[in-house]
Amino acid sequence: MNTPTPRSSTSVPSASPGRGIAPWWQALPLATVFALFFLIPLGLVLMVSFWNYDQYQMIPDFSLQNYLAVFDGCFSGGDLCVTLKTYLSTLKFCFLVWLITLVVGFTVSYFLAFYVRSTGMQVVLFVLCTIPFWTSNVIRMIAWVPLLGRNGLVNDVLFKLGMVDQPIEWLLFSSFSVTLAFVHLFTTFMIVPIFNSMMRIDRRLLEAAADGGASAWQTLWNVIVPLCRTGIIIGSIFVITIVMGDFVTVGVMGGQQIASVGKIIQTQTSYLQFPLAAANAVILLAVVLMIIWGLTRMVDIRKEL
């Protein structure tokens, strides 16, 4: 990521010829937007996380009180504290959803890229994958309720087939339904980058592998997967960051009974505990950045793109 190129490490920008003020101007609009809407707010969040607060105002201060409150009871032994429990639950969803979307997304992309021969058909099928995104994600979530509910379609069918004599309760408002909704919502984010990577694989490499006597599985594992690494990592970053910060899906599909970090932050902001929420947000940001940092170790995304 930070491999220094000779040019940037040895020369001072203003001294080099052809580097007048124009490039700076050209970079200015985006840099301004970036600073105004990302860096400054982020800085403010960091600042506020050290402030104090009461019921209706924030009090400028520098204290670690909010961070201590977040980890209250975490190091006293015994039961897990709320924060760790919540992160564990969020990470569990993250892992499950990542794994399932990866397998499903990879399979779909593989089919699209290597089994569908005509480009026209590929485009049609690819667009088909994005159709669910034509409706809002709240609607897509709520659509599961009549299907999975106690008196829902699935239970009805199972009942009529005589497979169960009591409605299955864990279909809705459970970890199962949350994971299902996440997979339903976010598999596309895996499909798109992986499909993109696959389309760029030189088909002659596959022929060469076949000529060299590789089996289909060997080709898949030793040729296709390594060459899709960038797509897989990008898709993973999408899915993991979204799941880590989500509170709507967990709320609706979990019957509001499953904690998520986003939900805690939302509750705190609605009770005007902005400094506490800011401290939580900073910690969440740190965790997500660490995950992304770990992922980008595996592949140099900038080089690959």
Binding site: P17, G18, G20, I21, A22, W25, Q55, Y56, Q57, A69, D72, V82, K85, T86, S89, V145, P146, G149, R150, N151, E169, L172, F173, G251, G255, Q256, Q257, A259, K263, I264, T267, Q268, T269, S270, Y271, L272, Q273, L276
Partner: protein, 426 residues
């Protein structure tokens, strides 16, 4: 190439900047322009929850006075948040009384001069003295009588005795209780304790708005005989711990099918049969019933948890907009709006004026607890009750007289929210 860039850049940049400044000035001027002309026509930005922001009310008011109402609909928590963080983003606020403990100390609201409110002395005694039909009702929590009067127009303190200035002029209020599905429960329910009765394991729900949910939980804890609170609306840390522990134990035992945060969620849970007993709001019960599904807003022997909201004015409001806001409040208390709200199952602030705008049979059903002598319809024309039916909870006096506590903001609010998150995470 390099030279030409160097030569032209300063000129180009200054030119760019000048054009940009001009452009900015243009945009600003365009933004100012309508503001100057807006003086001819008053538009009031009305911040509140969607509860009584009905289009019919705004339309009728505009037809009567020519003043336009622009609704800004947000959640209960966000009304408070806006009042504190963006006090100039509205001209009229419709807030819950319990939020006042957070809003008034900021000085963002001005006292409403009761001399300018025609029906001020007719506002129901529930608000001014905490009495219904001459009898005091429960005042645990943030009862309106504790926060309705301010010491002066620009005061940040609540007055202990009536003054000329009110913090909020009441709009609607009601007494909440548990909603049940009588067709699925098949036996009478008479106590809050039933919410945590193992009989309804996996079929109960409580609302996930901490400040209200904790009050429902407190009613349950007290009904189960676990603890008697000195003031449910202002618990000590130990009491909060106990209440949350009771909830967590029930949750771990699988008592709750779901928690809900949004009005519509509660309707869906009940209508789909996922839940048979839960905390509920009166219009949600009505909504389930209009689907043709039996649902009762069950009166309970321990009493009701009441709430009330009212109109407030931002401290910076002045001139024609201020006059317009006063006109709207006066119009609201004048009867038409009150009758409209009463027909939805809420209660209005000035009962006499609302009565004059309702049919006698409507008044008898909604306010006197008498059997309907003909079909009762909502303002939208849906049939809410058939001939012969009686309203849940009976008359205004029995219902409002049965208030046990009010929605509240506690002194230990921060701690309570933290513990509530623990319950959600458990």
């Amino acid at each position: 190439m390099t030279d030409s860039v160097k030569e032209t850049t300063p000129a180009a940049t200054s030119l760019q900047r000048r054009t940009m400044l001009k452009g900015t000035a243009g945009i600003l001027a365009a933004g100012m322009f309508p503001a100057v002309h807006a003086d001819e026509k008053i538009v009031l930005r009305y911040l509140g929850t969607a509860v009584n922001q009905d289009k019919e009310i705004a339309d009728k008011f505009k037809a009567d006075t020519g003043i336009e109402i622009q609704y800004v609909a947000v959640t209960t928590d966000d009304v408070t948040k806006r009042a504190i963080t963006a006090p100039n983003s509205f001209d009229l606020i419709d807030s819950e009384y319990f939020s006042l403990k957070n809003i008034v100390p900021t000085g963002n609201l001005k006292g409403i001069d009761t001399k300018r409110i025609k029906n001020a002395d007719k506002i129901t005694t529930l608000f001014t003295t905490g009495m219904v039909a001459g009898k005091a009702v429960g005042d645990q929590g943030t009862a309106p009588k504790k926060v309705i009067y301010l010491e002066g127009e620009h005061s940040k303190k609540f007055a202990s005795a009536p003054t000329q200035f009110m913090s909020l002029i009441p709009t609607v209020y009601n007494a909440d209780t548990l909603g049940i599905r009588p067709d699925l429960i098949k036996r009478p329910i008479s106590s809050w304790a039933e919410l945590l009765n193992p009989e309804f394991k996996g079929k109960a729900a409580i609302l996930n708005i901490p400040s209200i949910g904790i009050m429902d939980a407190a009613m349950v804890v007290e009904a189960m005989g676990i603890h008697k609170y000195k003031d449910k609306g202002n618990m000590t840390k130990a009491e909060i711990d106990l209440t949350i522990k009771t909830l967590i134990d029930a949750k771990k035992a699988g008592q709750f099918r779901s928690l809900w945060k949004d009005f519509n969620e509660s309707v869906n849970l009940m209508a789909s049969g996922e839940v048979v007993i839960q905390s509920m709001w009166s219009p949600a019960v009505t909504a389930v019933r209009t689907k043709g599904i039996a649902c009762t807003f069950q009166p309970l022997k321990e009493g009701y948890r009441a709430w009330a909201s009212g109109f407030g004015l931002p401290a910076t409001l002045k001139g024609k907009k201020l006059d317009g806001a006063y006109e709207f409040i006066n119009w609201f208390l004048d009867g038409w709006a009150g009758a409209y709200l009463n027909r939805q199952g809420y209660y209005s602030a000035v009962l006499d004026t609302a009565k004059s705008k309702m049919e006698a049979y409507e008044w008898a059903y909604w306010m006197e607890g008498k059997p309907a002598t003909q079909d009762i319809k909502s303002p939208h024309g849906d049939v809410l009750a058939k001939k012969g039916e009686v309203r849940d909870g009976g008359s205004y006096e029995t219902r409002m007289g049965g208030i046990a506590c009010w929605n509240a903001v506690m002194d230990e609010n921060a701690y309570m929210v933290q513990k509530w998150n623990e319950f959600v995470a458990a």
